[in-house]
Subunit: 161 residues, 2 copies
Amino acid sequence: MGFSIRNAVKTDCPQLRGLIQELADYEKMPDGPKINADQLEEDGFGAHKYFHCKVAEEEGKLIGFALFFFTYSTWEGKCVFMEDLYVQPEERGKGIGTKLWQSVIEAGLQVNCARCNFQCLDWNASSIEFYERAGAVNLSAAEGWLSFRMDREVMQAFLNK
Amino acid sequence: MGFSIRNAVKTDCPQLRGLIQELADYEKMPDGPKINADQLEEDGFGAHKYFHCKVAEEEGKLIGFALFFFTYSTWEGKCVFMEDLYVQPEERGKGIGTKLWQSVIEAGLQVNCARCNFQCLDWNASSIEFYERAGAVNLSAAEGWLSFRMDREVMQAFLNK
């Protein structure tokens, strides 16, 4: 048997939404995901593709995914950003996460990306170890980069300043 | 007199490359920028636009810029990421940075982005204060998000694992 990695298609979105929820639960933020499968279909498979996605499938069921998009560095040029990488707990240890991650990197190198970026929560020691083992550098520690966010209400308020 | 904010055009790229260098010098990483004006033209104004850019202009000269692109959150949907925000030192204190930032947020809200994200170096207290005054949340501090990066050599090595 075993799993296969392929590009996500529109009809994967309901299952994908389920995996996104599992990841949020694992990250201890179960109320995080606000979007539904319809929005994923529109944003990832509509006229403008805001993301790309690779899925791991076994016996017709999705057991993991890697969601990514292309970003830009004014120092190095095109970059690929891996937003989510998730494998169901019972499927871990089989190399599925590595294969998904490699498929994202492959997509990045195909368009000549200079970097692969992603984020990880500081308490998630096993993921940090997994990433660092592959050669990824913790930029927050190495260069002191901090991440900032404004939500929609703050964005709107800022426009009225 | 005064400045105006407009969308960058292809012919701005040589001046834009100069401003990118000024920002890298300010960030104490003068050897950071590896790309040239031709690459900016191709990546930002070619068939696939990897970035968008707003510029501040005064008397035909560029005095600041904000470079951004659209990303995706599996929790909230579309987001706008501000990669660079820069105003020449002698032009600061006139509200140019705020106007540039607002123009990025406006572009984000136009396509219904739920968030505006960006990064800042931890020693850059004046910028952090500027961002937090506008309501931006330091996610590295609030939620413990760390940023990771692989460069091209590490990406290639990881594919051969």
